[in-house]
Symmetry: C2
Subunit: 323 residues, 2 copies
């Protein structure tokens, strides 16, 4: 299997590459080649099969066409301008997230074959007000440009799949917690910061109240969703090719309790409460509770608990020991 990954230098891309390289298998068959693409050149994993690493622009037709020249069997499309930037730079968000993805779809169509296309969508396709749990039949009414771009691509992916132009599936990812790396300024960043920083022995700021809830999945599970999607029988999925991924709905208070349980109350004490009205206002419109029945039936599985999420971070990012 020749695997193409767009967005290979990002956090989820790297986790996906790790997962694929650990087994050497995807969709039940051996990996024979990889093409890794991002705005910066992705790093090359140490594997026995040939790997091509490429930097380019998703909104540039010749860059995108070149990726399809060897007809990859599976295309993982994770590349995107993130929510905050798409909101600030309206043109860039549409150019990359919407038009760039259409270029990819058209470049596949030009090659006249039918690869599996796995697209990372987001729960940002949903907008308040919400029912108590968002089911698989609930409307997409995004309140950000990023959410609109993701929702439009979901629709087009269904159309290209229905027309037999490729075999696509869109996975609506929960908020990924705990994101490794440095604290970032994304409005959702604190969900990771308040766990990652204390686990490394550092202070973290909590800008919202403790009753705020979020729908979350670990980086490990998130990469697992993508790998699982590569092996699914999509004919059984039917025409509705966008699936909300299973996560767990956890409040900030529950996150802090779990941190104390797993790592000790001295770590939990490193969280400083500094309510920030701007972030409180952004977060109150985010969806935090779902009933992802279709995905569960198709074998996608959530983390068992926030404790599991914390332990998998200690395991994967801290070499099994607290910092």
């Amino acid at each position: 299997m020749h695997v193409l990954i767009l967005g290979a230098a990002g956090m989820i891309g790297r986790k996906l590459i790790d997962a694929l390289c650990a087994t050497g298998v995807v969709g039940g068959r051996e990996i024979t080649a990889m093409t890794l693409f991002d705005v910066v050149k992705p790093s090359r994993p140490a594997v026995p099969w040939p790997v091509s690493t490429q930097a380019g622009d998703l909104s540039n037709l010749s860059d995108v066409r070149a990726l399809l020249s060897h007809k990859p069997d599976i295309v993982f499309h994770l590349a995107a301008i993130v929510s905050g930037e798409a909101e600030q730079d309206f043109d860039k968000g549409y150019r990359v997230n919407l038009d760039g993805t259409r270029l990819l779809f058209e470049a596949i169509r030009e090659r006249e074959y039918r690869p599996r296309v796995i697209f990372t969508s987001s729960i940002a396709v949903f907008g308040a007000p919400f029912p108590p749990a968002i089911g698989d039949d609930f409307l997409c009414a995004p309140l950000t440009s990023y959410g609109v771009q993701k929702a439009c691509i979901e629709l087009m992916l269904m159309d290209y799949s229905r027309k037999g132009l490729f075999d696509g599936i869109a996975l609506r990812l929960p908020t990924v917690v705990i994101r490794p790396g440095k604290p970032n300024k994304a409005a959702s960043g604190f969900f990771s910061n308040i766990l990652r920083e204390p686990l490394a022995g550092k202070e973290a700021v909590l800008p919202v109240l403790k009753d705020v809830r979020m729908w979350m999945a670990s980086p490990r599970r998130t990469a697992g969703f993508l790998v699982h999607a590569a092996g699914l029988d999509l004919a059984a999925v039917g025409a509705r090719r966008a699936l909300t991924m299973p996560g767990i709905s956890v409040s900030v208070g529950e996150m802090i309790d779990a941190l104390a349980r797993v790592a000790g109350s001295d770590r939990a004490a490193l969280i400083r409460e500094e309510p920030d009205e701007r972030i409180i206002k952004i977060v109150e419109d985010w969806p935090f509770s779902f009933d992802p029945a279709r995905a569960l039936k198709l074998g996608f599985a959530a983390d068992s608990s926030i404790d599991e999420i914390i332990r998998s971070h200690i395991d994967e990012e801290l070499g099994g020991q607290l910092g």
Copy 2:
């Protein structure tokens, strides 16, 4: 008020122009100018205000820019490649229905003002399977390229409106019955044919069984939805700017009974049953029952009955008398 109508030569465009010209008022203010645009030059109504009629291509940027040069206060966007053609010519459907509409949105944005934009969407944004009645929170999962194009534009219209780039609303029109004119070969054409032709004293073919239901509105009510949308306070509508329009759910059997009631059983006897498996299969995936609560609350009103629909056709198209 300067009114721009794209798709002015089509059936709904002409009904809308008639309705506007009958009162000379839109959105509570006097009409001072009209620009009428379509692929063929629209005919010029006899009115005291200046009317510009233009033929052009919605997917041509300079054609679209020219329409915005006088900053129309209200933009009615009814132009589209119809469902059957968008399904057969994939590129043309996306180029006109999706990209052409984006050109329009961008041309408005370039002028840096905030007109009312009224876009005709369709119940084709929904795809089977359906609940017993489709509510305002039900997902868009179209099963045609046309439906995908309409659903994507709904999402973008919400985004442009949220960003203050214009003040938009999308109306999901029911199947329009009775379409005036000649029988056409659209899969949905028979819903009009089986009433219009017998009312004119001619035979009509019924290609489906009598228990098939459809969600329908008369041309008169459909034009009324557009006029009503021009005067709405959209701030009260909120972020979800796509509204399913009220219609009535009527079976073919009920249509034939009403025809006999209004026009006599000899007219109903002009319908010849010739089941066509291809059309039966297409129609079985169409939505036919809705709960359009939001639109009703905003003052959009359905026809009272299929009898009213038949009578309004006799009134408007046959000069009050059976053919």
